[in-house]
């Protein structure tokens, strides 16, 4: 997988979108301010022009044309805010830079006076004087140098700044996100390549990327543990089958021996048959778990009461439990209705009771209880035996799992795996907890709509 280009990252795209929106809002703000300042300024300019024009007309009326001509010559010039023009009734220019346009009177826009820094078009007022001359007074400076222009310039700078900073921010932001995403991608690639211990480096941050990294790491942990369980299952099958098969071989070798008595041969063969029976039982258990896990049995589900199935099991095990010096008690007053396979559920409870009876010493107490709590319905099989260390509780449902201490006890380590498989098939959750002392296995029934309402 090629490394993602900076500009194609979602981080950069998001930054670009934000930048675009932000620039647009700066531009809109600029336009609004421009329009406001500009209309204010235009009104001021018009006022100034009108006052100047009136003043000049008054001078003309009072002192005549020569006086006006002199004034225009004196006031006009490079430094003046205004540009002037005076023409006689026939249109011949008398004074100033500007030529009055045709016969038009009133407010007009004229080509700018030939001056430095003059605006391209100038606002002008054309008036007719008493003697028929026409006077033009135009703005020569304000439009080009007034606040409007300053506003436009300021906003253009602001826009440029926004764009620059925004682009920089986008690059930095996406580079940072990209670095973290790349770290995830690289970790995932390493895992794909087979390095199962690899994890995404977790920063102390608590943002969504850190959360994502943690979630991924937890997922990798889970996959790794499943894989290990799988691997261990293979090794465990080999380990568990090698012993009885080796024993069978020994027995058969002995039976083949030249000087074995008929009696001894018979016994050896019987022992070999018993061993192979055990091996077949193990295979059968593995297949059964596989079959349950495949979910094919779900088709034949019928309404059953798990408490009733449990009562049957307790009933069946009671004499054997007593004989073995253990107390088996049941409190199954709460019905546990669910849709399921009666036979599998019976075997599930039988495996739990079996397990409890086998891994506890004489004098132990095994209790099978159904209960209703705010969390829903549950069935618990609890004992007060030696229990299972806290750290191992999660693993006892794995195939072939056996506590080291239990290796001496006969069993194939598949009983609880079948329990877990049957529970899952029925949508139940299956948890082991410390019974202080002892082990308790709690099966929580799926919540049904009926139970909830």
């Amino acid at each position: 997988m090629p490394r993602t280009s900076l500009f194609r990252t979602s981080g950069f795209r998001i930054a670009a979108i934000y930048l675009g929106l932000f620039s647009a809002s700066v531009a809109a703000l600029g336009a609004t301010v421009y329009v406001a300042v500009r209309s204010e300024e235009s009104a001021e300019i018009d006022g100034d022009i009108a006052r100047e024009s009136t003043a000049l007309a008054r001078e003309y009326s009072a002192h005549g044309r020569e006086r006006l001509q002199a004034l225009i010559e004196a006031r006009g010039g490079e430094a003046s805010s205004f540009a002037y023009g005076l023409a006689d009734a026939d249109g011949h220019p008398l004074a100033g830079d500007l030529a009055p346009p045709g016969a038009t009177l009133g407010w007009v826009y004229l080509p700018a006076p030939p001056r430095r820094d003059a605006p391209a078009r100038a606002r002008a007022l054309v008036t007719r004087l008493d003697g028929g001359e026409r006077l033009v007074v135009a703005d020569a400076w304000r439009a080009a140098h007034g606040p409007t222009r300053a506003v436009v310039v300021a906003f253009l700078w602001a826009l440029a700044g926004t764009l620059a900073l925004g682009t920089l921010g986008g690059v930095i932001l996406s580079a940072q996100i990209l670095r973290r995403i790349d770290a995830m991608t690289r970790a995932a690639q390493d895992i794909v390549a087979g390095d199962w211990r690899r994890r995404i480096p977790e920063t102390g941050a608590d943002d969504e990327l850190a959360q994502l990294a943690r979630t991924f790491n937890r997922m990798f942990d889970r996959i790794q543990s499943l894989l290990e369980a799988h691997k261990n299952a293979g090794a465990a099958i080999a380990h568990d089958l090698r012993r009885p098969l080796a024993r069978t071989l020994r027995h058969l070798e002995a039976a083949r021996g030249e000087n074995a008595s008929a009696e001894a041969t018979k016994a050896a063969v019987a022992a070999a048959v018993a061993d192979i029976d055990g091996v077949l039982e193990t295979f059968s258990a593995i297949l059964r778990i596989g079959q349950v896990e495949s979910g094919a049995r779900r088709a034949g589900f019928k309404p059953v009461d798990l408490a009733e199935a449990a009562r049957d099991v307790v009933d069946a095990f009671l004499p054997a439990a007593e004989e073995g010096g253990r107390t088996l008690v049941a409190d199954l007053a709460v019905a546990l209705p669910l849709s399921g396979d009666r036979e599998l559920l019976t075997q599930m409870v039988a495996n739990l009771v079996d397990n409890a009876l086998r891994h506890t010493p004489r004098g132990a107490r095994v209790a099978v209880e159904s209960a209703r709590s705010p969390d829903g319905l549950s069935l618990t099989v609890a004992d007060d035996g030696p229990g299972v260390p806290e750290s191992e509780l999660e693993r006892i449902f794995q195939r072939f799992y056996r506590l080291d201490a239990a290796r001496a006890t006969p069993g194939d380590g598949l009983g609880l795996s079948l329990v877990a498989a049957v529970a899952e098939l029925h949508g139940m959750t299956c948890r082991a907890r410390d019974n202080r002392p002892g082990l308790a296995i709690v099966l929580r029934l799926p919540e049904t709509r009926v139970a909830r309402r």
């Binding site: 019987a270 048959v273 018993a274 029976d277 077949l280 039982e281 295979f283 059968s284 297949l287 059964r288 079959q291 094919a296 049995r297 034949g300 049957d312 009933d315 069946a316 095990f317 004499p319 054997a320 439990a321 004989e323 073995g324 036979e343 019976t346 075997q347 039988a350 495996n351 009771v353 079996d354 009876l357 086998r358 006969p410 069993g411 009983g415």
Partner: protein, 226 residues
């Protein structure tokens, strides 16, 4: 017993036939489902038919269905493979009478065939079962031995009833689990042994002639003393 074996695997068929003959019974072999159906519904009357679930031409289920449709009531026992442990219900629904998962102990097969072959024909169900001086009243649910009433738990009663009904034949541990407990799996706890020993304590304890006998590695049998 005259037994029809419908099995396409030659080795398996020969092994079955030899075992059956060695125990003093007669055996015929059919190589596929069609041949099996012809023989089962033919003039030769068999006491029991052993049918493999997977057969060429006509599978075991269809064979038994067709056999029942043709009006042949001969009891049928299905043989299923290890992977098909859940085929039992299907087999029974098709009209089979029992099932056995391969591989099996030969004694288990013989015990089941004997149980099937001597299945009482439908008719007046007895209300009283008697073996020597043991009497079981099925209506009043009481048991007496030598005239003395014996108090039995419901499970003990069912166990004894099954043993009496199979009088003289072998009841294997697995048969008992299936018929008395309705357990189609083998719990590791010795529930059968314990229950039998309790029943013995009540029926045979202190008696000169015990009725319940253990057949080591095979099962149990109840028979009248000679």
């Amino acid at each position: 017993m005259k037994i029809l074996i419908v099995e396409d695997d030659e080795d398996a068929a020969a092994f079955l036939a030899e075992g059956v003959v060695a125990r003093g019974h007669e055996a015929d072999i059919a190589r596929d489902g069609r041949e099996g159906l012809t023989m089962a519904t033919g003039p030769a009357r068999y006491d029991v038919v052993v049918v493999d679930r997977m057969l060429p031409e006509l599978d075991g289920l269809s064979l038994v269905k067709a056999m029942r449709a043709a009006g042949t009531a001969t009891p049928a026992l299905f043989l299923t493979h290890l992977a098909g442990v859940d085929d039992r219900v299907e087999g029974l629904e098709a009209g089979g009478d029992d099932y056995l998962v391969k591989p099996f102990a030969f004694e288990e097969l013989m015990a089941r065939l004997a149980a099937l072959a001597r299945r009482p024909t439908l008719g007046a169900e007895p209300t009283m079962l008697v073996v020597a001086d043991l009497e079981m009243d099925l209506i009043r649910r009481t048991v007496r031995r030598g005239g003395q009433p014996i108090d039995l738990q419901p499970r003990e009663f069912r166990l004894l009833e099954f043993l009496i009904r199979s009088e003289g034949r072998v009841a294997t541990r697995r048969m008992l689990l299936e018929k008395v407990w309705d357990f189609h799996f083998d719990p590791r706890t010795n529930i059968v042994e314990t229950q039998i020993s309790r029943l013995r304590g009540k029926i045979d304890h202190g008696r000169a002639a015990p009725l319940i006998h253990t057949l080591r590695g095979v099962g149990y049998t109840l028979r009248a003393p000679h």
